[in-house]
């Protein structure tokens, strides 16, 4: 009997990702976009029409805001010689401006200067988070759940999701923050003891995504409090989330 179990174990092999920082994802993964060449004005107009979530910006030249991008790849399919999506998953940043990808960018930059010193000091070795699904569609929630499973096991860095905001050092928001969840989110934020971090996961949370203009969305909460980390992706990959948090806490 035990031999059978051992066989299964051997068959499954090592399940966990040995190194979360250097793991390479499948080329099919839609990660950081690259702009090989700026599109012409005519093309830009076409791309803008293609984009379902207004992720294309033309201020200071052509750029893709991955805080708004839903990673549908429509633009890359239409102009494969101008835009491509790589499998680079390290796309989390603490500065919203760094989320805009322009020609020649080879990584999403992380602004070390604006990290609050107490975040590095207090949460480096242990960070307990409370997740609030503020109108989320469960895709990001599933990925965050996966971040704690045997494969990704963010617990190895002392990062963990807890059941009550009373035990939490920070709040992780997914979803576009609907009107119905805005008050609950506020209560949850108030119930969590300071100092605390605020992390937005997924395009919906960062910009509202597809629902940015909906009247059922109330994003006033985000105007009140500074956001410590943006984790783009639709949904965000567990590795994106874990690497983003690790950079935030300086590990």
């Amino acid at each position: 009997m035990i031999i059978k179990e051992l066989k299964i174990l051997r068959q499954h092999g090592i399940q966990y990702v040995p190194d979360l920082k250097t793991a390479v994802l499948t080329p099919l993964f839609r990660g950081r976009p690259v702009i090989k060449e700026d599109p012409t004005d005519q093309e830009t107009e076409k791309i803008k029409k293609l984009c379902p979530s207004n992720a294309i910006t033309t201020e200071d030249g052509f750029g893709i805001d991955i805080g708004k991008c839903v990673f549908c790849k429509e633009c890359a399919l239409a102009y494969p010689d101008k835009i491509a999506f790589t499998n680079d998953y390290k796309i989390a940043s603490n500065d919203k401006n760094n989320l805009i990808v322009r020609k020649g960018d080879s990584e999403i930059k992380f602004n070390e200067n604006i990290v609050r010193p107490e975040v590095r000091k207090l949460f480096k070795n242990a960070l307990k988070l409370r997740q609030v699904s503020a109108g989320g569609d469960n895709s990001c929630e599933f990925e965050l759940y996966a971040a704690g499973n045997v494969n990704f096991d963010m617990g190895r860095y002392g990062i963990e999701f807890v059941a009550s905001p009373r035990h939490a050092d920070g709040i992780v928001i997914t979803g576009p923050i609907t009107e119905n969840m805005s008050e609950a989110l506020q209560i949850c934020w108030d119930a969590s003891p300071g100092p605390k971090v605020l992390i937005l996961v997924g395009t919906d949370a960062i910009s509202g995504g597809m629902f940015a203009d909906s009247h059922a969305v109330n994003r006033k909460f985000l105007e009140k409090y500074p956001v410590d980390l943006y984790v783009p992706g639709n949904p965000a990959h567990p590795l994106t989330f874990i690497n983003g948090v690790l950079r935030l806490i300086g590990k």
Binding site: R166, E183, A184, L185, I187, A191, G194
Partner: protein, 660 residues
């Protein structure tokens, strides 16, 4: 000297009626302190001598009536005085809201009965002569009756008071019957002295059973407890505390006093007391768990603690029977020390319950919640009482239960197998009672003090005035003192147990163990103190946020409704003890009506199977039978004349035929 004391007490007691409302209380308090000083002096005298202290009072129908104070009496005097004193101090603040509505006479009558209760209880533990003992025993019940029905404008309080009075009279008849049997059989006067002679020559068990029922009704052993669960909640809280603290202990005093005269049939008596006590303890706490009325819950805990005291006494008697001084002295000392301990923490709990009632005007714990923020001192004192009653160190309940446990474990090894099984039952029962008590008090404390407010009743509550907190702090200090320095209690308890057990050396042998307990508990307290200091220091430096209790950010309706309720917390025990506690659920099933279901309700009520089957059902049956007979009482004069004519005719016919 004694005449002067009696005159002073009589005049100052009657003087209450002449005073205005505001100063009546002080008159009562001063008289009580006078009584406490006098009896305290007598207590001091009796502890410093060998053999009881005797003071001749007067002659009653040819009998000499004297105060006889041995260490058992002295111990009970101490318990009475300490509870009455704290109760009287507490009553000042508790009765303040009533001063406006009650008349001068009503208040005076209450204070007078308070004094009368004090005097009669003191006399009960000091008198040995039968008639005077019984007179004061009755006076005690009557005074307690008037104290219970203080809020007599509520019908339920009057009912509870009358229930109490009737059951006390039933108890009285059992006691007087037992006394008369002893008196007739021995030819001596009615009194405890006749018991010595009687128990030497006749079988002890039947007469002991009469005494046990009589005193046991007072003490509240199951199934004789049914008055207690109605009277305790009905009485004002300072009286509830005194009732639970000392009045029911008078029953224990009676039983122990009778036991001092018994030297035969000890084994069946011991086993009998033990079994009744185990039943009382376990049933008492199990029924307590399902209660919603916090005063009723505390009343059931009184039954539970009477059970613990009874277990101590029961194993003490068994120890006497098998000539095992370790079991006997530890059992009696543990049981009697629990009398003092229970008087302390139960009066503390009732006084805090009274403070909650004064602030919220509800006794239903489902309406309370979140009181810890509004009444922090009351909450801490309640927690202290709850920890003590659950038998947790470093509080006094632990010490008395520890003595009983020690006696049981020490005798387990030396006794034969059948006795070992009985002792093992005692150990298991004590453990079960302790566990369930902890469960029960986590329930009541968390529902009343933690969480958020459940109804409007608690919104305007605030901490009670300091005159109501002060006596509770005194009790709290005593509770911790006995818990931390138990070795101080060993010598007095050896004296007290010495009344009934000859060899109490095993109690003195406990000194080492007690010092060990004392040391480790002191270290624990110091450790907790250091932690608290660190916390205090840190919270001064760091920023503190105060926010509402976390309710899962629920905003749909009143989040308080989604907290654990008392019923849901106790659901497991309710399921297990369904037969015993008789919980009934009333609710309407939801049917398919529309998209959204219409309003529904859910209500639970619990009843006491003993109360239902022993009191309510027989009395109800009798009443309905009487109501059927009452159809004859029409109020019509013609009908009554008809009855008279029928009666005359029937009598005539009967006498004609020569039947009578």
């Amino acid at each position: 000297m004694k005449e002067i004391i009696f005159i002073i007490i009589t005049f100052s007691a009657l003087g209450i009626f002449t005073l205005p409302k505001r100063s009546q209380y002080y008159q009562m308090l001063v008289t009580q302190i006078f009584l406490i000083v006098v009896t305290g002096y007598l207590m001091y005298l009796s502890f410093n001598r060998i053999g009881p202290l005797q003071i001749y009072l007067f002659e009653l129908i040819g009998n000499d009536v004297s105060l006889v104070i041995d260490s058992l009496s002295a111990f009970f005097i101490f318990v009475i005085n300490i509870t009455i004193l704290t109760g009287a101090l507490y009553s000042k603040g508790y009765l303040k809201p009533y001063l406006r509505d009650k008349t001068r006479l009503e208040m005076a009558w209450h204070y007078f009965n308070f004094l009368l209760l004090h005097i009669s209880m003191l006399m009960v533990v000091m008198l040995r002569e039968g008639i005077s003992f019984l007179v004061f025993w009755e006076l005690m019940s009557v005074a307690a009756f008037f104290l219970i029905i203080f809020e007599s404008d509520k019908q339920e309080n009057k009912d509870a008071g009358i229930k109490f009075l009737i059951q006390m009279h039933v108890a009285f008849y059992f006691i007087i019957t037992a006394f008369i049997i002893c008196s007739i059989a021995t030819g001596q006067n009615i009194g405890f002295d006749s018991l010595e002679q009687y128990f030497k020559t006749y079988p002890s068990f039947p007469v002991f059973l009469l005494f046990f029922i009589g005193f046991g009704i007072k003490a509240g052993f199951i199934p004789l407890h049914t008055w207690l669960i109605h009277a305790h909640p009905a009485a004002p809280s300072h009286i509830s505390g005194i009732m639970s603290g000392v009045i029911i202990k008078m029953g224990i005093y009676g039983i122990v006093r009778v036991l001092t005269y018994i030297h035969s049939d000890l084994m069946p008596i011991g086993v009998f007391i033990l079994i009744i006590s185990i039943i009382s303890g376990i049933f008492g706490v199990a029924i307590a768990i399902v209660q919603h009325d916090y005063k009723k819950l505390l009343a059931y805990h009184s039954i539970e603690n009477i059970g613990i005291i009874g277990i101590g006494i029961g194993i003490g008697v068994m120890g006497l029977a098998i000539n095992n001084p370790v079991l006997a002295s530890l059992g009696f000392a543990g049981g009697l020390l629990h009398v003092l301990n229970h008087a302390l923490f139960k009066s503390l709990l009732f006084y805090t319950a009274g403070s909650i009632y004064q602030q919220t005007h509800t006794r239903n714990i489902e309406n309370l919640g979140g009181l810890m923020k509004k009444m922090p001192a009351t909450a801490v004192l309640f927690l202290l009482g709850a920890a003590a009653i659950s038998g947790l160190p470093p509080f006094n309940g632990f010490i008395s239960e520890f003595l009983i446990y020690t006696g049981l474990f020490k005798s387990l090894m030396v006794s034969d197998s059948i006795l070992s099984v009985t002792l093992l039952a005692g150990i298991v029962a004590l453990a079960v009672i302790g566990g369930l008590a902890v469960f029960c008090f986590t329930k009541i404390f968390s529902i009343i003090f933690l969480g958020t407010v459940r109804s409007d009743k608690t919104r305007h509550s605030h901490e009670v005035r300091s005159s109501m907190l002060f006596p509770k702090f005194i009790i709290g200090i005593l509770i911790i003192a006995i818990g931390v320095m138990p070795f101080l209690m060993l010598r007095p308890m050896a004296f007290v147990a010495g009344v009934i057990v000859d060899d109490t050396s095993s109690l003195r042998d406990m000194a080492g163990t007690m010092s060990g307990i004392s040391l480790s508990l002191s270290l624990l307290i110091v450790f907790i103190g250091i932690l608290l200091l660190i916390k205090l220091k840190l919270s001064k430096v760091r920023h503190t946020d105060i926010g509402p209790t976390w309710g899962c950010a629920y905003t749909g309706s009143d989040p308080a409704l989604h907290q654990y309720s008392a019923t849901s917390y106790a659901e497991y025990i309710i399921m297990k003890a369904r037969l015993l506690v008789g919980v009934k659920k009333h609710f309407r099933y939801l049917t398919k009506e529309k998209i959204f279901p219409s309003e529904t309700y859910f209500k639970t009520e619990s009843s006491d199977v003993f109360d239902d089957n022993l009191i309510s059902r027989p009395v109800g049956g009798l009443l309905s039978f009487m109501e059927k007979i009452a159809v004859f009482q029409t109020g019509n004069i013609q009908h009554y004349l008809l009855y008279a004519i029928v009666f005359v005719i029937v009598i005539t016919i009967i006498s004609i035929f020569g039947i009578i």
